[in-house]
């Protein structure tokens, strides 16, 4: 199995420059010696554009012209739809029926065709669409090009804060944590890299503890408010996570809500629950030195944001 290297990530960074926002590190002294990496400020409100642009840019032009297909609970969907529109190619996006409305609408707004499906049926339905349209599947995390693309956020962290001591990254399918972890371990070998998961979708924490992937039911994983963190690593991302994560921290639903609230009121950043878990994990971990928490996305339903702000 080929694991992504820092050279892959550097190549991805060169490839997607101009399509993706280079987010700054924002000091968050109110929370400690902490900096936030605000990926919620990306065009579609999440880091997912990094991997999507890298994967689509890497396709052979003849192949790319047939269009792309993706399945996603939301942000990857928007990212592929957005990148496809920038490349002027068709996009079919398979989304579970329970996906927040704001994410379905946003995906359609980029000109993609959305195919709704039952929970757990995404991969199968996407395979059907690939067969029917001839398009290329852009997977949400299980591909070296996706991992390398997400890793560009880690490259930027290392450039902006070379003496960083700890990096906190949400874990779901594991593409972001694999990529950022690979970049940080290569460029800041003294820094620790922590994955953060909701307790209610803590399969990766369990899996890394036991040395093999854990399998939680989709019903269990759907319990968390963090709707972007309900996937599980693949063999490929799990192998990366085993190599680059120092630990996985799990956080409660209340801790996640508190982090969303504080990001809005103290950092002036709107985050979705999945985007706030890294801050929650930083707090749960206790003193970690000069740290970065990745705010991975901001696509939250308005009613939920209002509810969380009510405290």
């Amino acid at each position: 199995m080929h694991l992504v290297t820092i050279d892959d990530i550097r190549s991805a960074a060169a490839r997607i420059r101009g399509d993706v926002l280079r987010t700054p590190l924002i000091p968050a002294a109110w929370a400690g010696p902490l900096w936030l990496k605000p990926e919620n400020l990306q065009a579609i409100g999440a880091f997912k554009v990094r991997g999507a642009f890298n994967a689509i840019a890497r396709l052979d032009p003849d192949v790319r012209a047939r269009g792309v297909v993706a399945y996603s609970s939301g942000n990857h969907a928007q990212a592929v739809a957005y990148a496809a529109a920038r490349y002027g190619i068709a996009a079919h996006i398979v989304m579970p029926e329970e996906t927040p409305r704001v994410k379905v609408d946003a995906t359609r707004s980029h000109g993609a065709q959305v195919v709704l499906c039952g929970a757990g049926q995404r991969e199968a339905v996407a395979a059907d669409v690939v067969e029917r349209t001839g398009g290329v599947l852009v997977p949400p995390f299980d591909h070296p090009d996706i991992i390398a693309g997400q890793g560009t956020a880690g490259l930027e962290i290392a450039e902006d804060l070379p003496d960083v001591e700890a990096v906190f990254v949400p874990v779901s399918g594991g593409g972001l944590a694999s990529g950022i972890g690979t970049a940080i371990k290569a460029l800041c070998p003294g820094a620790r890299v922590y994955g953060v998961e909701p307790e209610l979708a803590g399969d990766t924490a369990e899996g890394l503890r036991n040395g093999r992937r854990a399998n939680w039911s989709i019903e269990d994983r759907n319990r968390t408010i963090a709707d972007g963190l309900r996937s599980q690593p693949s063999d490929l991302t799990f192998a990366h996570l085993q190599r680059v994560l120092d630990d996985v921290i799990t956080v409660s639903e209340d801790e996640i809500r508190g982090a969303v609230r504080d990001l809005a009121l103290r950092a002036h950043l709107v985050s979705e629950p999945s985007g706030a878990v890294a801050l929650a994990g930083y707090r749960r971990a206790g003193p970690a030195g000069r740290a970065v928490a990745v705010v991975s996305g901001g696509n939250i339903e308005t009613a939920l944001l209002r509810d969380i702000l009510a405290g």
Copy 2:
């Protein structure tokens, strides 16, 4: 009267580097060929740190050691308190009693002493405090060092988007618009610079139309939800505004609320009403080419943010 020059602004930029976040331009394609300058991401949630750090850095060390005094409806207060704490000097801040609680608490959290006063009494009370403490007054806008400090945001806009065609900036006391306008006119002479005001505090629009400062009662100006835009220009800032603004656009309270809502839900930025007027002005102006709207601050009361999000 000495008007601030681009050299003053360049010197200020060198002086405050390291103390102030260099904010990126964030594409806001959902609103047009528009970029946002998110000054709400500064440490105290507003651009005011730029002027405060520049003014305090410029003081003679012996003078600075006596501490600083400021009067402000909020964000300048926090900025001076924050900068004073970084310099290890005392800060007394005079604030009107109707100041949003979130801003009073934030100012105290930086270790400053807050002196509350009646509406319209700020300048007089601040003068008393200066006499009593021997501290130096750091005015909110009526000083070349403040204007040059705020102008550093304009320098960054010109660096990041040299072919910018229009820049939208909120106007109240006029320090930010004076500084940004000076930088843009020097570096991007083809770009238009628009001040934006609430209709309910439209003294500068009226004043520039008539060629002399207008004076609206504080009761009138207090009607706007944009509590940071209730001041009026001084002779110094008015002279700058006459030279650097192409026009002043006024916006309704509903337009301001709509801009706060869209910044939260589409750009994932929490803004205060004063911080959202530039986006509202951009929309009111109609097509303006490649434009920048300055999101000047994010310190909004939680209840008001919830109310605006309810639509």
